[in-house]
């Protein structure tokens, strides 16, 4: 049934009936599997992938590397939760390597992001240091390359 996930990951607007045809399954079986995946949290949502750079929206994204002191008995989970509860925060990862937590933040302006870091993240007592890098241009995100689909260069007809 993971084949259903593969298809949805490519194109979540495809109907259950079309998936059923493509995989030689019953439509009802696909609907059931999809519902179960949703319930189990395997399918976490059906979002459009949007290239905001092509819109009027001027928002900006930054990656912030945090060094933190893990808390006794809680490890990094507690501090991670305090961070990801902010709606500005898009992603939070615990990292191996020279820093501990990676935070992705979206803000309207660079200033807004910088303010968030200096007033919200940096003052947390577990945070030892922060290092902020702004995204200048997006090439590829979640497997989607951000450029116009290249035209089909094949001959219109061939034998």
């Amino acid at each position: 049934m993971e084949r259903i996930l593969k298809i949805l990951e490519e194109n979540c607007r495809i109907t259950d009936k079309e998936i059923a045809t493509m995989l030689s399954l019953d439509e009802s079986a696909v609907a059931r599997a999809r519902a179960e995946y949703e319930k189990a949290g395997v399918i976490m949502g059906y979002k459009a992938c949007i290239d905001w750079d092509k819109t009027e929206d001027e928002s900006t994204v930054a990656m912030i590397e945090l060094k933190v002191t893990p808390q006794y008995g809680e490890g990094f989970d507690k501090i991670a939760k305090r961070i990801y509860d902010y709606p500005e925060v898009e992603s939070v990862y615990l990292m191996s390597g020279s820093f501990d937590i990676m935070v992705l933040i979206r803000g309207r302006t660079m200033k807004e992001v910088a303010m968030f870091v200096s007033t919200k993240l940096a003052p947390m007592e577990a945070v030892v240091s922060t290092s902020t890098s702004f995204v200048l241009k997006k090439y590829k995100e979640n497997g989607v390359i951000f450029r116009k689909e290249p035209d089909d260069e094949r001959e219109v007809m061939g034998l």
Binding site: E18, T21, L23, S24, R154, E155, V156, M157, G158, L159
Partner: protein
């Protein structure tokens, strides 16, 4: 004034030009036409294969190779055929690398056919066999495969067409355009007819990796057939490498020596950069094949369901990436259907008669397109049928 008509080769002039040219001219001036007309994969060659080609250029491998092709590639090709189809060929004398399967087909026919020899060609099929036979002075003898036989060549049909002049049988399976395949038991029946005759076989297995639900069997693996069969294969369809122009020819050494002689004088050697990419493809590309074949299979089912729903009878193809629905119920000829579909709904498909007279009453639709593309094209075809 030069009288070209008198000067040009009579034989070449008599060959019919491909019937789809006029559709190109219409499409060329048409905005937002969409196509199901291509004859090749929509995938770009997998990156690791392209990278191997680039690597060879960076290393300065820009010379001719041996006429037969790089020994390294012939060795990989032999290993590939053994691994996938259980066929055994010696890399040093029974494998030739050509410029696409196309060149392999041409050279093989030229090496085998003498003037007056009859060549049996199951039709509908790919368009190059008949002109190649004519250029050799041979006589093409079409055998019409039928939808009620799942577009297979039957032993009975074959027997009816064999005469003392029959030199060669062409076996174009998995078939472009019908999607028909020959299973092991079908091939055994054909072999039963051929064994004990002097008839040779050219088996065009370029779509051998693209079968759905059943693995491909080569006629060369059937008892008594290896020694009379030339197998044509290649990387165009299996590895999405049409533009690289690499074909593989396998056969008994005495035949391949003659085939290679033609190749040597006409071509020298297949492009070197492509040969290096092909080494990588055959060595490490089996998982790419599996992925692409899986994708085609899903699209195949989607398109087949689509045609069924709109009431066009359509054989469920079992190989390659084409669908060959009958449009007889519309009362239109294939060409009229295709021309009106193009003008009125802006969808390009190939008229069935391009693949031989027996293809009349059908259209060929390729499903090497994205799911979204296929859905839009099917909607337009359905709309077109509704207006008829």
């Amino acid at each position: 004034m030069m009288d070209y008509d008198r000067l040009l080769s009579q034989k070449v002039k008599e060959i019919k030009p491909s019937g789809i040219r006029k559709f190109f001219d219409i499409v060329a001036v048409m905005k937002d036409a969409i196509s199901l007309g291509v004859g090749e994969p929509d995938f770009v060659t997998p990156w690791h294969i392209r990278d191997a080609g680039i690597q060879s250029l960076q290393e300065g491998k820009t010379y001719y190779t041996s006429n037969w092709g790089l020994l390294e590639l012939r060795t990989e090709a032999a290993a590939y055929l053994k691994r996938r189809y259980g066929l055994e060929y010696k890399p040093d004398s029974e494998v030739l690398i050509t410029v696409g399967g196309s060149e392999g087909i041409d050279n093989t026919i030229r090496a085998l056919v003498s003037p007056g020899d009859e060549v049996l060609i199951p039709e509908p099929s790919f368009v190059c066999y008949q002109p190649c036979v004519l250029l050799s002075g041979g006589v093409p003898v079409p055998i019409e495969t039928k939808v009620e036989d799942e577009f297979k060549l039957t032993a009975r049909q074959l027997k009816e067409k064999i005469t003392p002049k029959t030199k060669l049988l062409i076996l174009p399976f998995p078939n472009n355009p019908t999607g028909g395949i020959m299973e092991k038991k079908d091939l055994e029946e054909i072999a039963e007819v051929i064994r004990g005759t002097d008839i040779l076989v050219l088996s065009d297995e370029i779509y051998s990796e693209l079968t759905y639900g059943l693995k491909h069997t080569s006629i060369a693996s059937i008892d008594g057939m290896w020694e009379r069969t030339v197998v044509i294969n290649g990387l165009s369809k299996s590895h999405a490498m049409t533009g690289w122009r690499i074909g593989l020819v396998f056969g008994p050494a005495p035949i391949l020596q003659q085939v290679t002689k033609i190749h040597q004088y006409a071509i020298m050697s297949a492009p070197t950069v492509s040969q290096y990419a092909a080494v990588e493809a055959l060595r490490a590309g089996d998982k790419d094949i599996e992925y692409m074949c899986g994708q085609y299979n899903m699209r195949r089912k989607l398109m087949h369901e689509g045609f069924n729903k709109m009431g066009l009878t359509c054989f469920e193809p079992r190989g390659a990436f084409y669908m060959f629905p009958s449009i007889k119920s519309t009362g239109l000829t294939s060409e009229d259907f295709c021309e009106r579909l193009l003008r009125e709904e802006k969808v390009a498909v190939v008229p069935g008669n391009a693949f031989g007279d027996s293809g009349e009453g059908h259209i060929r639709c390729c499903y090497a397109y994205s799911v979204e593309h296929i859905k839009v094209a099917l909607d337009r075809i359905e709309h077109f049928l509704g207006k008829l």
